[in-house]
């Protein structure tokens, strides 16, 4: 038996962030991770010798740069570079290349639609404007709308002020944004199918909504509000894969004195007299602490590692009904060479980045239809990146690895449980799709890892394989995340907190949930705050 100030259950990137900030405040912290590796969905693993996959998340943009700087993640080995040069493949022969250079990018759009080339400027300014307010909230605790505590009132006033600063017109736009579909939003700007598809893809990533479903336009915003060094909407690759982020966070946490234990799955949270006092591990060991922080999603926390009796009435039901539908698969492929794509000229600026294999919003919606019927999409949405094009640490020289994010893939199939055979068939569907645009692609395959929501849940414990630890719709956002009344990281049992993506601001590798939770915990423990304020670009 051992005694700590704080136990963090789960070494996902948010758990690690939380531990780092608690330890930085001088607390004695232990992180308990069920897997033999850390990182949760921000992980890099060598499953085939010489290749290191980012097994789940693969690109980074939401990571709060203030935390990056404050925890000195650069010194702990983190290097984030923007990735450039995505190709979007049309359903037919069309190709849309995204050039980094503004002028070349404009000409490329003009090639498809002179109108859309011009409209892109309006689109980008509008998105940037909308993302400003969301960015303001990322490293802050949502105020409780029912509370009269000065802190909540001050926070509401702060938000009202930020809102007001946007200008009155934006207030209408905002409400629209949270409720409309990505497709409707894009129709306001663009006419070209391929351009729309390219712009729509962030609107469906990770969600169990379709591009025509109300709410998907917020998903789009969620994916473009980040930045790489001030370039809003840009995404970056972590050298060494996404695991490098977790490794750097772990380095920072350990430097501040936190202890990280792997192969230490938590069986149950121990509650005495209505207070969390510690945990029992799967091996029977007990660990005690003043507070317990769960990095698990809300559904898992309250339905798997808590005793129903320990919960106030209604919480179990809230957790059970928490919307956490999985929709995404991931296919990681080791390749003996760089794939060649048809209709793509030899060009060092565009062959090295990402690929979007969905030519229209129509195709996206058809893919969604399959999911609704409990099947994986027969013509899936596939978003790919080849990080080895620039990262020398993830594949042997001259060889490559390709990350393929796939939708839609249901957590449960209509025709019975997932089996390894079905999983491989799903993988084959993805290869077939890529092969359509890259004849000979299959011959390059050295190894692959196919993950359906089933594998994602089994390995990382993301319930139903939902990548955000819970759907990002307005009913589950901000002060309603994870549940109404529990938007401030404190959970219904005293001394129990949550710090994972199930809390505000939600999914994605941002470290924000973990840092926000730390701030709240430190208030309760009457410790000085260690969490910095965010950086902004609006002033």
């Amino acid at each position: 038996m051992s005694n700590y100030d704080a136990i963090v259950i789960g070494a996902g990137h948010n758990g690690l962030t939380n531990a780092a900030y608690l330890a930085k405040a001088g607390l004695n912290v232990v992180v308990l991770e069920k897997n033999e590796y850390i990182g949760g969905a921000a992980v890099s693993r060598e499953l085939h010798e010489g290749w290191k996959y980012s097994n789940c998340s693969y690109v980074c943009s939401m990571m709060r740069q203030a935390l990056h700087r404050d925890l000195d993640l650069g010194r702990h080995g983190l290097l984030l570079v923007p990735y450039l040069g995505t190709i979007n493949f049309g359903d037919g022969d069309e190709r849309l290349f995204s050039y980094h250079d503004e002028q070349a990018a404009h000409l490329e759009l003009k090639r498809h639609s002179p109108h859309d080339a011009d409209a892109m400027h309006r689109f980008q300014s509008d998105l940037t404007r909308y993302s400003q307010l969301i960015r303001k909230t990322l490293l802050r605790t949502p105020p409780d709308p029912t509370s009269l505590r000065p802190r909540d009132i001050m926070e509401f006033l702060y938000l009202a002020k930020q809102f007001w600063k946007l200008g009155e017109k934006e207030i209408y736009e905002y409400v629209r944004f949270f409720t409309m579909s990505a497709a409707d939003f894009l129709d306001d700007y663009f006419e070209n199918d391929l351009i729309k598809a390219a712009m729509a893809s962030p609107g469906i990533i990770g969600t169990a909504l379709g591009v025509y479903s109300p709410g998907s336009s917020y998903i789009l915003l969620h994916h473009v509000m980040g930045d790489v060094d001030g370039s809003i909407g840009a995404w970056g690759l972590a050298r060494g894969g996404m695991g490098a982020i977790s490794a750097a966070l772990a380095g920072a946490a350990q430097e501040h004195g936190a202890e990280i234990r792997t192969n230490a799955g938590v069986q149950q949270v121990l509650v005495k007299n209505g207070k969390a006092v510690g945990v029992v591990l799967e091996n029977g060991d007990e660990v005690y602490a003043r507070i317990v922080v769960s990095n698990l999603d809300a559904k898992r926390t309250f339905t798997r590692i808590m005793e129903k009796n320990d919960l106030p009435d209604g919480i179990y039901e809230k957790a059970r009904n928490f919307k956490i539908r999985g929709s995404s698969g991931k296919v990681n492929i080791a390749l003996s060479g760089m794939p060649k794509f048809s209709g793509v000229p030899e060009n060092r600026y565009i062959n090295r980045g990402g690929q979007g294999f969905t030519g229209s919003m129509e195709t996206m919606e058809r893919a969604y239809d399959c999911w609704k019927r409990g099947r994986w999409s027969d013509d899936p949405f596939v978003e790919s990146v080849i990080p080895s094009a620039w990262d020398p640490t993830v594949a042997p020289p001259g060889q490559h690895w390709m990350s393929n994010f796939v939708q839609y893939c249901p957590p449960e199939l209509a025709d019975g449980p997932w089996t390894p055979e079905k999983r491989d068939q799903f993988g084959q569907t993805v290869i077939d799709k890529i092969e359509r645009y890259s004849p000979g692609f299959s011959d390059l395959i050295v190894h692959m890892e196919v993950r359906t929501p089933h594998e994602i849940e089994q390995e990382i414990g993301l319930t139903e394989g939902n990548i955000f630890q819970g759907e990002l719709t307005i009913d589950q956002l901000f002060f309603n995340r994870p549940f109404p009344g529990y938007g401030q990281y404190r959970m219904p049992v005293r001394n129990l907190y949550m710090c994972g993506s199930s809390t505000h601001p939600g999914g994605g590798v941002s470290s924000a949930c973990g840092a926000n939770a730390a701030r709240e915990i430190l208030i309760d423990l009457r410790r000085p705050n260690t969490v910095p304020e965010d950086d902004f670009y609006d002033e």
Binding site: R95, F97, Y99, D101, E102, Q103, A104, H106, L107, E108, K110, R111, P114, H115, D116, A117, D118, A119, H121, R122, S125, T128, R129, Q132, K165, L166, G167, K169, E170, Y189, P345, N347, Y349, I350, D538
Partner: protein, 398 residues
């Protein structure tokens, strides 16, 4: 113009005149202008500047965004689009315009060329197709992008008419300022307008890109008689400030590109009240501009002369020496002809008026060492430099 995706081999397009600039360029100082590669300086900045003010300078205008607007509703459409009354514009005439969004903030400025009945060309600083099409709903108009299909050359300076005449473009002497004429250069058709961005005598030549080099060569063939210089955008920046012309997107943020609330500007605020006609009937932004007009002015993009000769770059403006910050310089140049520092500054008004005193805090370098100095500024209501000969018809012959 059709694009294929080999355009990546050259990130920037070449204008039809590009080869000639390459031959003349000694500096190799190029820059991007609206997806084209153009010279910043061709040979020597002072030479290019003085060519405009004393002889003849030739500048590539092809990258300018050009839209062809035609159809029975074209006039009504344009009248709705822009703040100025263009109902009296006649075929063969050009007018300067500005257009706004519903909030009365400037989207861009440009020139409308009435080429014929129901046939207009709109030249703009920035990409406007999206806005032009959105504004076209309900109008019987056809709008085409012709940026890449029309080559354009500015020929500016006191000898520009003499040069063009010598180069074989006849019948130009009666062309009045803001007039357009369909003429020939030898046997090549060129449309010539007496327009420009320099404040000097000058013409703009519009032609089929296929004929561009022949026209260029015809002009430069008279170089033995007249001193003619190819000119880059740096010299243009100097002369346009002297002439008091503004540049949307540089001197102020255009409405569509504005992200931060309050960073966009109305025509009044950028000193373009004179192109706003609130009596002409409805146009986009009118309501907001009417309301704005009834309130005391908040700010104005103001022409100022900054005392002394310290190089004015980016600087704040104060309402007194060591006073309160009240504005900022948006663009500035040393004027070799006036021997003065000229600038456009965005200045906040006090009680609807320009502050009584304006001072600039200038940070400048001498031999890499930074210095800081106060300089008093004097507002100017007229363009800084307007040579009288510029509007004479026929122009002075050299």
């Amino acid at each position: 113009m059709k694009f294929d995706h080999t355009h990546f081999r050259q990130a920037l397009l070449r204008t039809p005149f590009h080869d000639r600039f390459v031959e003349l360029s000694t500096t190799e100082e190029w820059m991007a202008w609206n997806t084209y590669k153009v010279p910043r300086v061709v040979d020597k900045l002072p030479t290019e500047y003085f060519a405009v003010r004393s002889g003849c300078a030739v500048m590539d205008l092809t990258p300018m965004e050009k839209y062809r607007i035609s159809g029975r509703g074209a006039r009504d459409y344009l009248d709705r689009l822009v703040t100025r009354d263009i109902s009296k514009l006649k075929a063969g005439r050009v007018t300067y315009v500005v257009w706004c969004n519903d909030e009365g903030k400037v989207i861009d400025d440009g020139t409308v060329f009435q080429l014929g009945e129901n046939d207009y060309r709109l030249c703009a600083q920035h990409h406007q197709f999206d806005w032009l099409l959105m504004s076209a709903r309900g109008f019987d108009v056809d709008i085409q992008v012709e940026t890449h299909d029309v080559a354009a050359l500015a020929v500016q300076g006191p000898t520009s008419w003499s040069v063009l005449a010598a180069a074989g473009i006849s019948n130009l002497e009666q062309l009045k300022p803001f007039g357009i004429a369909d003429l020939r250069c030898g046997d090549i058709p060129v449309t010539v307008s007496r327009t420009g961005y320099t404040g000097d005598l000058g013409y703009e030549l519009w032609m089929d890109p296929a004929n561009a080099l022949q026209v260029w060569d015809a002009i430069f063939s008279v170089q033995g008689q007249y001193d003619i210089h190819a000119m880059g955008l740096s010299a243009l920046e100097m002369v346009r400030i002297e002439a008091g012309f503004i540049m949307p997107g540089f001197d102020f943020n255009t409405a569509e590109a504005t992200i931060r609330n309050g960073y966009d500007r109305s025509p009044f605020e950028v000193g373009l009240g004179w192109v706003v006609n609130l009596d002409k009937g409805h146009f986009t932004g009118r309501k907001a501009l009417l309301a704005e007009k009834s309130r005391p002015a908040k700010r104005r993009l103001t022409k100022i002369v900054v005392d002394g000769n310290k190089p004015v770059g980016e600087a704040f403006i104060y309402d007194g020496k060591n006073g309160k910050q009240t504005g900022e310089i948006k663009c500035a140049t040393w004027s070799p002809i006036l021997k003065a520092n000229l600038a456009l500054a965005d200045i906040e008004f006090i009680n609807g008026r320009l502050p009584a005193q304006l001072w600039a805090r200038i940070d400048y370098q001498r031999e890499l060492k930074w210095h800081s100095a106060w300089a008093e500024c004097h507002s100017h209501s007229k363009p800084f430099y307007v040579p009288e000969y510029r509007s004479a018809t026929p122009p002075m012959r050299y």
